[in-house]
Symmetry: C2
Subunit: 573 residues, 2 copies
């Protein structure tokens, strides 16, 4: 039947010509809603309600396409909850509700789904594509990050198809987060064998949607936009990057979903560190990007959001912390006040025989400027009591770190007693430089539900303090200017036990964040190799302390604990 064949072919060619013509005349037009929401892991009810309410808004605004972020329905990262009986079934029920609520809408939503083949890992990390109340199908994520804090190969099988979806006559490519990161070579130590962007490059794509759950780290946004621009250059179509926002355990998601046009120009960025139902009318896009935010402002916002969501999602309200008059606890108090309100933060100043007058003044000045309540509780009586108790056993042995730790542990016990009695959560105030060398007392200043600045080097703590003080002096200048001291013995200075923070921070950053060896660090910074080796050795020796330290908020490319899994028992260093 050559004639019929010819007819079909002519029809198809005609359709294609008209389609291209329409696109050329009208532009690639679409009204898109990127739902940047703050999900709680495992909160199917709450997450689904948020999604449904976004769908309602989409309907009101006559949106063509609504997209949500990666694993939106269950929140990211669900970790081993995924493996618990019943979890995936609740996900399916939630998806059904979303499908039912999608009349007149084209919806893309992230979720985990069962791997139907029964071979490989039990789940896919998927995007459900829904058109007018009907499930069109799923896209299953290809590239599964399994490095740093990510464990996706633990749960997910890798997808094998990159379908194009049709929405209002447009060809929509859907990828999930890492899928777009493999394109430019490696991420961390992963160089992927396959590349969904490359597959898509053989097709004509009108829009690329990336459902993301890309956690914040210092200066991450520019990295993300750069990666996306490369994909856009290849596919020659606009890209919508849809993020989640909020804190989940150590991870903070900064939101900042964005729109890149086909010329690789980032035209619009959604709000940072809060929810945003961002609408982009692709036929009417103007560049609406202001000055990029100060990296320190972003860092501060990330820490605030990390604290806020740890409390909010755990149904906690009040925080307490030890105020020493030093800079670390001052910065933590400022972050906590911003996150929880000054009425919900309580400081406790716990002096000993070794505390200086200026510490008391600085703690009080800080509490005053923040408007938080401050208790002063001397640790002398229990300290004396411990010393008496122990003296028959310790005899004439010299005073050492034992007695210092006793003081820190008394402070920890007092904070925990307030926490237990009044339901407030203790905030731990150790920074990354101290955590690196174990310059902190387990069960002492390492007590707490959340370690707020455990991923900031001492240098960053100072920088954040200066940022906090930009408008007015909230943190007393004296806290900023005095030499750091734990005040656990007369005349103690941090520099008695630690290298100068300048050097320490360089070594910690070079080794922990960038994985450089002692030799490289010594060479690059003109430092003595033995000195650098000794610092690295101390970092590894302190691993046991970090294992028992509270959850910390990750704000660097490589934080301790989950992102950096080092054996306690090892003889490499």
């Amino acid at each position: 039947m050559p004639r019929a064949y010819f007819e079909v072919k002519t029809g198809a060619i005609l359709k294609k010509v008209l389609y291209d013509l329409k696109n050329r005349i009208l532009g690639v037009k679409m009204k898109i809603l990127a739902a940047q929401l703050n999900y709680t892991v495992g909160d199917f009810k709450g997450n689904t309600e948020k999604i449904l309410s976004a769908l309602q808004k989409a309907r009101d605004e006559k949106i063509d396409l609504v997209t949500f972020s990666e694993l939106a329905i269950c929140g990211y990262p669900p970790e081993d909850l995924l493996l618990q009986e019943g979890f995936i079934d609740e996900m399916e029920s939630a998806l059904q509700k979303i499908i039912n609520a999608s009349a007149d809408l084209f919806v893309i939503v992230g979720l985990a789904r069962k791997n139907p083949s029964k071979i490989g890992k039990p789940f896919f990390n998927s995007a459900a594509v829904i058109d007018n109340g009907a499930l069109l199908g799923f896209y299953d994520k290809w590239l599964l990050p399994t490095y740093d804090v990510f464990d996706e190969a633990r749960y997910f099988e890798s997808g094998n198809l990159v379908p194009l979806w049709e929405c209002k006559g447009k060809k929509i490519g859907v990828l999930i987060c890492e899928d777009i990161w493999g394109y430019e070579g490696g991420v961390d130590s992963s160089v992927y064998l396959k590349d969904p962007v490359e597959i898509l490059s053989h097709e004509k794509v009108d829009f690329l949607i990336n459902l993301s759950a890309s956690p914040y780290h210092f200066k991450k946004l520019s990295l993300r936009t750069q990666i996306c621009k490369r994909a856009v250059k290849t596919l020659n179509c606009p890209l919508i990057f849809c993020s989640q926002v909020g804190g989940n355990d150590q991870l903070v998601f900064d939101g900042q979903s964005f729109f890149v046009d086909a010329n690789s120009d980032v035209l619009s960025i959604a709000k940072g560190f809060e929810e945003d139902l961002k609408i982009w009318d692709t036929n009417n896009m103007k560049k609406e990007i202001g000055e990029p935010k100060e990296p320190l402002e972003e860092l501060f916002s990330a820490l605030v959001l990390g604290v806020k969501d740890y409390f909010y999602k755990n149904n906690f309200k009040k925080a307490c912390l030890g105020l020493s008059g030093g800079i670390d606890s001052a910065v933590v108090a400022c972050i906590a006040v911003k996150a929880l309100g000054n009425q919900n933060v309580e400081g406790i100043y716990m002096p000993s025989r070794y505390s200086s007058k200026s510490s008391e003044e600085d703690a009080k000045a800080l509490a005053d400027s923040l408007g938080i309540s401050l208790k002063e509780i001397s640790i002398e009586a229990p300290f004396e009591s411990y010393l008496n108790l122990l003296s028959p056993y310790f005899g004439k042995l010299p005073v050492d770190h034992t007695e210092e730790n006793v003081q820190a542990r008394i402070r920890g016990a007092i904070l925990m007693a307030f926490s237990n009695k009044f339901g407030s959560i203790v905030l731990s105030t150790s920074n990354k430089s101290e955590m690196a060398l174990g310059f902190a007392t387990l069960y002492g200043d390492l007590c707490g539900g959340l370690s707020v600045i455990s991923d900031l080097t001492k240098k960053q703590v100072y920088e954040i303090a200066h940022f906090i003080n930009l408008q007015k002096e909230i943190i007393p200048l004296s806290s900023l200017q005095k030499e750091p001291s734990a005040e656990l013995r007369h005349g103690q200075k941090d520099s008695d036990s630690l290298p100068s923070y300048d050097l320490l921070d360089v070594i910690v950053e070079s080794h922990v964040e960038f994985g450089k060896s002692a030799e490289t660090i010594a060479l690059e910074n003109q430092l003595d190799l033995c000195f650098v080796k000794d610092v690295l050795h101390r970092i590894y020796q302190a691993e046991y302390k970090r294992r028992q330290s509270p959850l910390g908020i990750r704000v660097s490319q490589k934080s301790f604990k989950d992102g950096r899994r080092i054996p306690i028992v090892q003889k490499w260093t």
Copy 2:
């Protein structure tokens, strides 16, 4: 050149016929040494010395083939040490030393090696095959466990070839651990897409060598032999399963390398829980298997080895622990004495106003029967001191868990003071049932370097206690018979705060180890669903405590922490 071709072919056929005939007449003869050694992670020097000394023994004993276990050169599991600059280079240097020392020997040794292709993950988990001082090549592990405590996909790319190696005219198949576990379907939630045993089944294999790093859990050996027998049935050849032994962080490797003949009969098992340079002369194999060890004896041995290696490999010598007169601390003391010697274990009995006379008697009786030193240090003075300090703030609020926790934290601080002053390591004594519900005080009884029985349910603690008492009453009967109590208030019983341990243990095991839902557990055990749900809820709520608890020794299929990664912030339960 048809004639030449014919000649070659005839030669090959002739060779094959003679080879088969020889095998049929002489049997598949080989003298094999399975070097079951105790490696320390990252200890290239020490591990290499052990390997070289085994090679010397092999030479002395005229061994045909020596095999070592998985990742022998660096120890298993190296975790993120693998990713540190320089680590893999030291592995290569160590391999070169081993190759150099392999004259006249056929050696198979486990190590990580760089992935030469630069695509995929940076390393292979490999077996180097060495013949007479020359490296023949590598076998790269196919199946990479990425579940439970295993993170192999974080580091390794999967291999794609299963070469057969020739040693003394025999065809040797080499697989690495998990490679043999995929054959029978899934392991945990992993069902592998490919199967190296299946590939080997198309060839004539004379011996299959499995280099393993399969950690102990309760009743693991029979599972291992069962898996191996299936492979043997398929390949129709003897199998040598070569294990490592020793404790590395939370994992304990039990050794017990074994030999399965071509009839799937396990003929010989190397020593459990210690090193063994086990020689099997395949031409002269007799069944030399005694009665299988009591599972409880194995469990006890595993805990002892876990403690021993934590101390030995960290260069620690002395342990101290709080002896309460209860069963948990008694069992931990017995394990510690077996591991470290009674001269290296110190008990501290720390009574309060709530302690019973019998607790003191039981603590003393235990210390006597173990021959360990016992200090008695009342916590009354610091307790009083804390109460005075806090009373202005607590006012007339009722006494509650706050005051209980203060006591536990004083005990923790005293233990830590002894640890700091005398360099002993505190052993934590919480069991899995308590850890499940968070029935333990953070920074109190959860203090310590090592949590010895944190993976034993209360039921197992009693069973181990009875096992310890089999020959003579070491643990006082009174500790075994009295109702468990934390003695933190007058007349307190564990059953005031916890379900009966019988019920609790069933729920913990069913949910944590076997992943069963509340509904399934209620149904299977005829329990009230609300009650089961409440217990599960409490398990999830206590996640934050477990995150800050010390390293524990894993002895079950599913221990808390690394093997079970649950978010702290989540709303599923």
